[in-house]
Amino acid sequence: MKTIFKIALGIIAAIGGFLDIGDLVFNTQAGALFRYDLLWAVVLGTIGIAVYAEMSGRVAAVSGRPVFDVIRMRLGFGFGLLALIASTLVNLLTVAAELGGIAIVLELLFDAPYSMFVITGAIALVLIVALLPFGGIERLFGYGGLVLFVVVATVFHQNPDWGAVAHGFVPSLDSSTLYLYFVVGVFAAALMPYEVHFYSSGAIEEGWTEENLKENRLNALLGYGIGGVLSVALVIISGYLFHPLGVEPSDLGTVALPMQGAFGETGLLLALGGILFCVGGAAIDSSFAASYNLAQFLGWEWGRYQGPRKAPRFTASWLVFLLLGIAIAQSGINPVEITEYSVVFSVVALPLTYLPVLLIAGDRSFMSEHANGRIASALGWIYFAVIVVLSLAAIPLLLATNGGGG
């Protein structure tokens, strides 16, 4: 009974931690531009992250190997280094985007300048990481993020044309490059690589073994699956409200407006609070991911569970990544723009981190009876093919659409 309760809490935290600034921005814009037409791409991305997270969590629990451990072993030093550099750049952009997101929300809530809140937000994150144990950090942001279910409530409150919504779940390919760009964006926002870097290292932080495999499967399928409902709700509400008006949301505050329309001041506060927890949690996840990757690639001691005394290089690198993130967020570039670049470049870097996990998860010499079965293997390779296609298309589409500007 106690374990069921514990597993349920983990799933709930995964649901609340699902969204980050990339999902908020891309899903809202996708709804505003194409109404419900991109819902299928959200579902495709959500299943993708569930498949990839389940695999990497299983590898971590069974063999004790997080993602970058596996990457160096399967790709060797040269390609592994390439994967490390690419992932680190993408993760840094993500850290900056999430820090920017925190600052925007605080700016809206407390009416003081953005730049002050980038630093305030980062200091708050350092304090939270210093004071709370690993599980506590995850739960704080996971439960806080659940407030964003106000988006789902708003969808039901507004009661859109459900037939049209259902139609959006059927894949359709519009020939416009902007539409294709948003297919890549929505998919990539769901499948940000830092989520998996963090998830698999987190499994080791929490001491997972083969006994946690059920928990892993439920976390990945239910946690990320229900988390995907939030993404779907964002697209629907934006498609319902912004699409007919021709509004193109270019800042994070716009994401919260539909909730104000439905539930007044309370709705707005809940939405902003939920966004704050989501981007705050993602700032921690992505900055941790950057230092996990570096430490694992170089063979350093790592982990929040080790503390700064046993893992000084890991701790120092985390602070450096956070500082670099602050520097990028303070550079004056619009955080929404940083978000778009971090999401689109992430899909370019994705095949390099996805392939080694897929190879190890299917390797019986590591995984024995827990190696990929027929279904996991088929899904894994299908998604690999999808990822390769999208990663090849991402940069041309980014250039052709002038960064989604049309």
């Binding site: 063999s63 072993m73 690639f297 170089l298 063979g299 350093w300 001691e301 046993k310 000084p312 290089r313």
Partner: protein
Amino acid sequence: MRREGEIYVVHRLLDEQICDSEGRRVGRVDDIELRGNPPRITALLVGEGLYPRRLPGWAARLARRISGPETWGSNALRIPWEDVDDLSSTVKLRKKAEDLGLGEGDDPQRWIVRRLPWN
């Protein structure tokens, strides 16, 4: 005990995580020393000085120019094969990291005390 069965050296040993006898992560197998005929593994090589030789030709030359040559004992270490205990998951050593000169980068003494300018 060293395992006597066959292993695929590049598949399972090269680039593997190394842990000392206390279970601390102390580096990765950056290269492997082979000697004799037929060749036998005589040592594992660890350290950032070895990174350039793991890169493809042009990048290796560039990396050497930047980082300088490998210096045995400081940026490149030799772990004799006799000190390897077990290969079943990570590479487990028989000795503590300090005794082999490994893991200095994660030594808290070095971080907190020796790095301060007045020491």
